[in-house]
């Protein structure tokens, strides 16, 4: 925190809640892209793909290496979850679930880095604001959940056809005499899915990040007692947070599978 602007805890946290944006764009305009979220998520996505791809290429039927065993465990875990929920062709849903799970987990895991590590590193290059957790950015989680919504709509059309899906939208659950009411109900159901999916992940990660920042504020409080409490608090919350980030990645994956397999069900 030595490099932080002076102004107390509030200023420290506000500084850490500011996204890195491209210079010379209007605040809140279309091009005020959150460069930090996009960069970190893309880097993690590429790392995940490279890591799994390299190990899958070297896979042997004999005694597996530790890395291959790990990849197999993750793959079989995700595939088992998909198999439990979705009975059909898993060639698309399996890889999608694996991507969602590992990617969201890696993005959440950025929360376990010390809150000041990446901002401190980027400050050396002259970038003063940097938020390292992409899933604590509401744009990132909504981007993922809206993608899931588009997939749900696509698979609804694919599984039931245009006529079948329209029939379901207008006649379930109360029959054809309540068509406008049914449609409104189904629309709310459809739209509430991405909102709850993304707000759940965002809320968890944002609250976790803020608690880390509040604890980190203790380090500069100026007393050794508070410093020690900060270290203990950071450790305890960090250990608890390992549970939270895994559960949230797991929930995001399971709900993605459930929503897409629900799109395949006929009423």
């Amino acid at each position: 925190m030595a490099s932080e602007p002076q102004g107390g805890l509030t200023e420290y946290i506000r500084h850490h809640l500011t996204h890195l944006k491209p210079p010379h764009v209007s605040e809140g305009g279309f091009w005020s892209v959150h460069v930090d979220s996009v960069t970190v998520s893309l880097v993690l996505g590429v790392l995940f793909c490279l890591w799994f791809w390299l190990l899958a290429r070297k896979a042997t039927a004999g005694v597996p290496s530790k890395g291959q065993a790990f990849v197999e465990i993750v793959l079989e875990f995700v595939d088992g979850q998909v198999k439990d929920v979705f009975h059909g062709d898993r060639r698309f849903l399996g890889p999608l679930a694996l991507t969602v799970f590992v990617w969201v987990f890696l993005m959440n895991a950025m929360d376990l880095l010390p809150v000041d590590l990446l901002p401190w590193a980027t400050e050396k290059f002259g970038l003063s604001h940097f938020r390292s957790v992409p899933t604590a950015d509401v744009n990132m989680t909504f981007a993922m959940s809206i993608t899931v919504l588009l997939l749900v709509i696509f698979y609804s059309f694919k599984a039931k056809g245009l006529g079948g899906y329209m029939h379901e939208l207008f006649t379930a659950p109360f029959g054809k005499w309540f068509a406008p009411f049914n449609f409104a109900l189904n629309l709310v159901e459809l739209l509430s899915k991405p909102v709850s999916l993304s707000m759940r992940l965002f809320g968890n990660m944002y609250a976790g990040e803020l608690v880390f920042m509040l604890i980190a504020g203790l380090f500069s409080a100026g007393s050794w007692l508070l410093y020690g409490m900060g270290i203990i608090g950071y450790t305890v919350w960090g250990i608890f947070h390992i549970l939270i980030i895994s559960i949230q990645a797991f929930i995001f994956m399971v709900l993605t599978i459930v929503y897409i397999s629900m799109a395949h069900d006929h009423h």
């Binding site: 759940r200 965002f202 809320g203 968890n204 944002y206």
Partner: protein, 95 residues
């Protein structure tokens, strides 16, 4: 001086709201987790062979129950750190 009083009023009400958000959220989440945990332990005691199956679902539900509370906490923390309700006040004061 009047402005300070207004700011103090907004901050005071915000502080009460934060307490309510976190308190009631925690109450609901804890009752939910408690009910689910007790049912899980009962089920595990009756049929220990189902524990691996139930455990995964318990964690899933624990995350779902916690989510609304944590969204509330995130919102409350946001209001505690950067209160957007004050911005209209400072705008009205001409800052």
């Amino acid at each position: 001086m009047e402005l300070v009083a207004h700011i103090a009023q907004v901050q005071g009400f915000t502080a009460i709201a934060l307490g309510l958000i976190i308190g009631f959220g925690a109450l609901g989440a804890c009752i939910g987790i408690g009910i689910m945990g007790s049912k899980f332990l009962e089920a595990a005691a009756r049929q220990p062979e189902l524990v691996p199956l139930l455990q995964g679902r318990m964690f899933l539900l624990a995350g779902l129950i916690d989510a609304a509370f944590l969204i509330g906490v995130a919102l409350a923390m946001y209001f505690a750190v950067a209160n957007p309700l004050l911005s209209s006040l400072s705008a009205a004061a001409g800052h």
